[in-house]
Assembly symmetry: C2
């Protein structure tokens, strides 16, 4: 039960018809999910480790544990508790649109890798009046020209998310999001908006600034994983549909402590 | 070339007869090494991820890349460039003492996992006059009663290293080592020295305090990996011999930045 209205059990039953999980569990840590075959699991986890701004590793969930995350959601089943998945093979969709259950498409022994998600820092930006989402729309995301550090068949370019921020708030936004190291952390300084077509994002929805005197601010984005699963990956790989994340039992504010703790 | 006298090439040739790699490359990041079979690679990496104080993940090195670490030592071969290894199977030694080359004992497709090492923060403690090593001796290490967060066949208890610190320096020592998050970070508060036999460490060498008014201070230790590879692990696993670490091309002071960077 993340709040009075919403619970994981209701996600698993397909109760929700949502544009995204953003508003479902305010304050709770949300995670990107990538489900890869056993033979590529070490490669993909290492790919995340080498690209930590886009893919901060939270946990890896195994079939033998019912795809639970022992530290973040011991009772969950990541394969059931994400509203919608996409399944690809050699970088191409294997299904017509999203599916609720990716299991029939996956090889036995697949593992689900959880990585940090910007929904976690967005809650803080909203509550401090520094940013607000466009109702019913996802943030725009762009494929950049920055190559990821590759590992095995996983490569591709960095994907970034963009939010319009008032110029006089940029320093505060940097401070707030820096504290969310496991959810992409501070904005990236290496992105030149002139190199992107802001009106035509590669993922998500185009957004206009909602106030005057705003500038586009960019963060490393977990959709980088989807862009990294290209033609070189011969097996079926499932990823959460953009915006439809896995929601943990842990609050974002407690996540750093929970993930670093020595004694249970 | 880490300094005027020492280089990785000389380690690889077996030039050194050392008690440890501590003094070989002052200021350079050193790493624990655990070499596990392909089928257990995702389990072991996840085990590290779930026990980040003892086993902060630095990189994973694959046979196809010649066991190099792309970010920390692109020209290295981790299996050749560590002075001595131990090889175990089902938690028992497979060889009589340490070996220079573990490859003949390992299954094809094994991966080498690099995790942070306290030698990296020791340099800072020494240069700030807060601690000094006992000449020719390793620090004492103790198996605690704290269970690790398990993953697959990897479990066991936390191992901690101990250093005597002057009581009036403990706060400064905490501040200095906190900055080395990828090398075990701050001391642990959960360890009760009364529960350990300080005169009989489980690994390393017993040390007496070198000054009056000292107290024992404990850190999570990478030897936790060796204690975690127990009877449930059916395959040969190689670990660096205690004190004989892998030395990276990256300086400890730059490591946080190098490991987090987005653009090469």
């Amino acid at each position: 039960m993340w709040c009075e209205k919403h619970s994981r059990a209701r996600v698993g039953k397909g109760t929700y018809a949502l544009a995204s999980t953003r508003s479902l569990a305010p304050g709770f840590l949300q995670a990107n999910v990538t489900v890869v075959p056993a033979r590529l699991a070490a490669d993909f986890v290492t790919f995340c480790l080498r690209n930590p701004r886009a893919l901060p590793l939270l946990d890896v969930c195994f079939a033998r544990d019912g795809f639970a995350s022992p530290r973040l959601a011991p009772e969950a089943d990541v394969l059931k508790d994400v509203p919608w998945f996409r399944v690809t093979k050699q970088g191409r969709p294997l299904t017509n649109g999203s599916v609720r259950d990716p299991a029939p498409f996956l090889s036995p022994g697949s593992v689900a890798v959880l990585t940090g998600c910007s929904f976690s820092f967005e809650d803080d930006l909203v509550s401090q009046g520094l940013w607000r989402p466009h109702p019913g729309r996802n943030v725009p995301m762009f494929r950049t020209r920055i190559a990821n550090a590759p590992c095995g068949p996983f490569a591709g370019n960095l994907v970034v998310s963009m939010r319009w921020i008032r110029r006089d708030n940029v320093a505060r936004v940097r401070a707030v999001t820096s504290a969310h190291a496991i959810s992409h952390g501070a904005p990236l300084d290496d992105i030149d908006p002139a190199e992107l077509n802001l009106a035509r994002p590669d993922y998500g929805d185009a957004n206009d600034a909602q106030e005057p005197d705003c500038q586009p601010v960019f963060w490393a984005c977990g959709v980088t994983a989807q862009a990294a699963v290209g033609a070189a990956v011969d097996d079926a790989v499932a990823t959460h549909s953009p915006g439809h994340m896995f929601i943990a039992d842990v609050r974002s504010a407690d996540a750093n402590r929970v993930l670093a703790r020595v004694v249970e």
